[in-house]
């Protein structure tokens, strides 16, 4: 398991290639990359705050849960904090398995849990000022799929 919480930009392609190396029993890797989206037009920046003492531990617990539920050779989670701009990558998950079904399901699970259970908060700045992104009820309900 690889978990990185960082301010720096990452290269999703390079991360995938590095993750895929030295995995002779792996037949499938699923990756998801989340990008900063300019929802209404005019996004000047997105500030991502996190809880340094808790973030990596919370993500590791979610990744360990995924490893218990599915047959995974490895899991990678990268999540950024700090000031980002439209089109910047925010986060990435990669799951490696013998077969694709486990890799897809685990990546889906990781995304649902990272959205609502990893201690990050997003604040968007536009020409109208800055506002915190509200959590969606749908995101919370998505967790019920896995219980």
């Amino acid at each position: 398991m690889i978990v990185r919480v960082q301010e720096n930009l990452f290269d999703a392609g390079a991360e995938l290639n590095s993750f895929a190396k030295n995995q002779p029993t792996v037949g499938a890797i699923v990756t998801f990359t989340g990008l900063v989206r300019d929802v209404a037009g005019g996004l000047q920046g997105m500030e991502i705050e996190h809880y340094p003492g808790m973030t990596a531990k919370a993500i590791e617990a979610i990744a360990a849960d995924a490893q218990n539920r599915w047959s995974l050779a490895d899991v990678l989670v990268i999540h950024r904090y700090g000031t980002l701009h439209a089109t910047d990558p925010i986060m990435m998950v990669a799951t490696a398995s013998k077969h694709r079904a486990d890799a897809f399901a685990a990546a889906d699970f990781l995304m649902d849990y990272l959205k609502s259970r990893a201690p990050f908060w997003k604040k968007e700045t536009t020409g109208d000022g800055a506002s915190w992104v509200a959590a969606k009820d749908d995101d919370e309900e998505a967790l019920n799929r896995w219980s």
Partner: protein, 81 residues
């Protein structure tokens, strides 16, 4: 006990972290003590259903006991991913 605030909770209270002396038995009791202090706490904790709490960096709830807890954090629902 250290108390940490994140996102708009931090902004409403006006600080990221403070250390308090408290005999509060539960998280709810601690919230009541803070709310009684100053308006900015009352504003931040006006609707605790809009808040989440972590005890020693693990998600918890407002009924949880505080015995032995060293760090309490209050924040809005998380928006990771």
């Amino acid at each position: 006990m250290d108390i940490m605030y994140f996102a708009w909770v931090r902004e409403r209270i006006g600080l990221p972290k403070e250390t308090v002396e408290t005999q509060a038995a539960t998280v709810s009791d601690l919230v009541a003590e803070l709310v009684a202090r100053e308006d900015r706490y009352a504003a931040a904790f006006a609707d605790i259903t809009a808040l989440r709490v972590a005890l020693d960096q693990e998600l918890s709830d407002f009924d949880a006991p505080l015995a032995g807890v060293r760090e309490v954090a209050f924040f809005p629902p998380m928006t990771g991913g």
